[in-house]
């Protein structure tokens, strides 16, 4: 088995991975980036509306306000020590991106342009504040491109289309590298390193309707779980309120930031009832629930399960005038600020948003939970904060936790850059003082046997059949609204699917080169594990908080549940939950009722 030696291995080449790679390299480490995709295919590139930081370019803003909004948006589950780091370091992180060449939109004075986004407010007036720095509606694309460009400039070593399938730990419990399949040949490679940074993104493909790429299959969390390590707060998965109806393609919150409003089948701007102060710019969990409640009350559009997102200049200007604002918009402005949204709507829905409303419904979007880390991006082995030496995680795959129970728009990109930078620096520092740990015996053995089992499997069920079943049951039972009975139904069904996956699977492709049949089946195994942890964590949490909404426990319960969930696989295969880790409240924001 070919073996490669590095100081630091980064798994994943999206925003967090590329940032981590750059800073680890600048910190003097020999860095290798291993990704199942070409870096520019990573899902960071689909982020649209903006990256949040209190630059204050257009009006007064402060990092403290950004921090409070993040805590409130997260329904008080975010760790406030981590939120402080996010909000404070966001400013310098974004200035650095500009220095790297990111083509932000500009204000007339040449500074970075900012716009409104859900849940971001002036804490004194309670009104929306312009905090989202953007490059049209392709901010993520420009971040991904800029970071990749800098990696090329800094001659970072990439292993593109190498699919990581296992984490290596030394006998004394340190990170020792990873195992990856070279997709083009089917050959397994060992990446032997002092430090490993996980940055594989999310797992939206657990659900039937999602904004997430096909590649977002939860490989990172599944591998960490299989190595006996915990996952944190997996019950919290965000449904973005405005996915394009039926397809789930993301329609950025920036549409509402520019003045767009949500309208039900009766022509009402229903968010006025749910969030009287900031209405359509309330946080995502609140709006997703509101949309479903409108639909369930028979107020969807034309009796169908969607509502309208109206950004026609006529409607926007009417509401701007009603709100006493002097600003007005026209079609050219919408085209300038939201060109990709115009394109998606035209191509996929045959709708011209400057003339007619966009049909939207909630879409599975973002995992607040993930691999637990501390504020230094070090992976936690236990709820009381012991770390796995040499192991780091950043971005969506990590749970630090800055997003708590519900992430604010723009904070995912901020998270990637802020904690990617920390992970890169810390891993380089660690590697400088560490020796190369001994590899475990037979490093690729276990995963190689599993891949061989799948490659030669000869049962009756195709991976796509199991995957569709999983996605449907998770959508219906572990989606926006949940009950104990529904979640238990999902868990029982998932266990049957896992059994089918182990004993009754079949695939067609028996080859080695670009065997995506095999790798998709392996990804399904990861998805099933992640879905199971999500459902089991959701069943235990008997309260409603942020994105986790229980019909049978409709209230938030700070007395019992101001704690994080840690889920771990026992040796007997069952999942063990631990709720002993308390939420960090060091900024002093004590839980209070959450109104928008």
């Amino acid at each position: 088995m070919p073996t490669h030696e590095f100081d630091v291995i980064v798994v994943g080449a999206g925003g967090a991975g590329l940032t981590a790679a750059l800073y680890a390299s600048k910190g003097g480490a020999k860095v290798g980036v291993v990704s199942k995709l070409y870096p520019t295919r990573s899902h960071t590139g689909t982020a649209q509306g903006g990256i949040g930081a209190a630059l204050g370019n257009l009006e007064e803003d402060r990092w403290e306000w950004h921090a409070f909004d993040t805590v409130k948006g997260g329904d008080y589950l975010a760790d406030q020590d981590a939120v402080r780091v996010l909000a404070q370091e966001a400013v310098s992180a974004i200035i650095e991106l500009e220095h790297m060449g990111l083509p932000f939109d500009r204000n007339p004075d040449g500074t970075i342009s900012q716009r409104r986004f859900g849940g971001h407010t002036n804490n004194e007036t309670k009104k929306p504040v312009r905090r989202a720095c953007h490059a049209a509606d392709r901010t993520g694309h420009m971040i991904l491109q800029t970071l990749y460009q800098q990696c090329i400039k800094n001659q970072i070593r990439f292993f593109d289309e190498f699919h990581v399938v296992d984490q290596l730990l030394s006998a004394d419990g340190r990170a020792a590298g990873v195992v990856a399949v070279q997709i083009g040949t089917g050959e397994l490679h060992t990446f032997h390193s002092k430090a490993v940074i996980w940055a594989t993104g999310g797992w939206g493909r657990v659900w039937a309707t999602t904004s997430n790429a096909h590649s977002l299959t939860g490989d990172g969390p599944a591998i960490i779980l299989r190595r006996g390590l915990p996952l944190e707060d997996m019950e919290f998965f965000q449904f973005h309120p405005t996915g394009l109806y039926k397809l789930g393609i993301l329609i950025t919150e920036g549409v509402r930031g520019e003045g767009g409003v949500l309208i039900n089948g009766r022509g009402e701007r229903f968010m006025e009832r749910y969030a009287p102060t900031i209405k359509d710019l309330a946080s995502r969990d609140v709006i997703s629930r509101a949309i479903y409640m409108e639909i369930m009350a028979g107020r969807g559009v034309n009796g169908k399960p969607y509502v309208n997102l109206d950004v026609t200049p006529e409607t926007v200007n009417r509401y701007l005038a009603e709100a006493g604002e002097t600003r007005r918009i026209d079609a050219a402005y919408i085209h300038q600020k939201l060109p990709d949204i115009m394109d998606f709507c035209q191509v996929y829905a045959r709708v011209d948003p400057v003339k007619e409303p966009i049909p939207v419904a909630p879409t599975a979007h973002y995992g607040m939970g993930g691999i637990p880390t501390n504020v230094d991006a070090e992976v936690l082995a236990t709820p009381d904060g012991q770390i796995v030496p040499g192991l780091y995680a950043a971005g969506e795959v990590a749970c630090v936790s800055v997003h708590g129970a519900n992430r604010l728009g723009t904070n995912s990109l901020t998270d990637l850059i802020v904690f990617g930078r920390i992970a890169g620096r810390k891993a380089a520092e660690y590697a400088a003082g560490a020796d190369l740990p001994a590899l475990p015996a037979d490093p690729g053995g276990e995963v190689s046997r599993e891949l061989e089992r799948i490659r030669t499997s000869n049962g009756k069920v195709r991976p796509a059949q199991i995957r569709a079943k999983m996605q449907d049951v998770m959508m219906a039972r572990v989606g926006v609204f949940r009950t104990a009975e529904g979640i238990q139904t999902a868990i029982d069904a998932l266990h049957e699917m896992q059994e089918d996956f182990r004993t009754n699977l079949t695939i067609d492709d028996r080859g080695h080169k670009f065997n995506t049949d095999l790798l998709e089946a392996w990804e399904l195994g990861a998805l099933l594990d992640v879905a199971e942890v999500t459902a089991v964590s959701a069943l235990a949490r008997q309260e409603s908080r942020g994105a986790h909404s229980r019909d049978d426990f409709p209230k938030r319960d700070d007395e019992h549940w101001l704690v994080h969930t840690f889920a771990r696989r026992r040796d007997d295969g069952t999942l063990a939950l631990d709720h002993s880790r308390k939420v960090d409240l060091s900024l002093g924001h004590m839980p209070k009722e959450r109104v928008y």
Partner: protein
Amino acid sequence: MQVLFRIRRFDPDKDAKPYWQEFTLDNVDPTDRVLELLHRVKWEQDGTLALRRSCAHGVCGSDAMLINGKNRLACKTLVKDLADSTDRAKIEVAPIMGLPVIRDLIVDMEPFFDQYRAVMPYLINDEPLPEDGRERRQSPEDRAIFDDTTKCILCACCTTSCPSFWADGNYVGPAAIVQAHRFIFDSRDTAAEARLDILAAPDGVWRCRTIYNCTPACPRDIQVTKAIGEVKLAIQRGRKHVRPKVKPHGPEGEG
């Protein structure tokens, strides 16, 4: 509706040469993407079909293919765009041309990324940063002149539709020129001359014969031929004497 779906297949371990395989797909929704048809084949009928894809909505650039004779993204092409009538469509899918086929619809992207890397596709500016620790200033007008070329997703639709590139794979190709344009006309960058020198070499922009295949092939609607023309002009007149024209926003501005 019903789709007669023909896919160009090739497995180097089994096949002496590429061949067409036919599938008939029933109950196709006219708004289905071609990518969904490929998934139906792969997930329901023949798991050995090999293709790349990820985001499925035209942003990541993974699934560039030759679809009914034109380079397009499979995830951004709807069946009804290719249909002969409301109930039938004939769709042919083959790998993009000019890059070595590895398997089925998958080509070797390394030569393409080598050409991209050759034009120094990163901001170069060694001048001191602003003393206040803030962003470099750039006017909205200076930002606008390279806006179009920042949209590139490196899908290779343009380069692999170019007859000059088919004829000579050493030609740097439209995508790399687009990427160079993005920095050449960025007011913050200081290395335009070095990039223009690279592109003035024999395998650079002068291999472009203005055939114009690249512009309609671009799934991001980048005015590729226009960008190449501006780079040619910058080589002839000097960067300082060329200022790209900005098209107005909105449908009236689309060429």
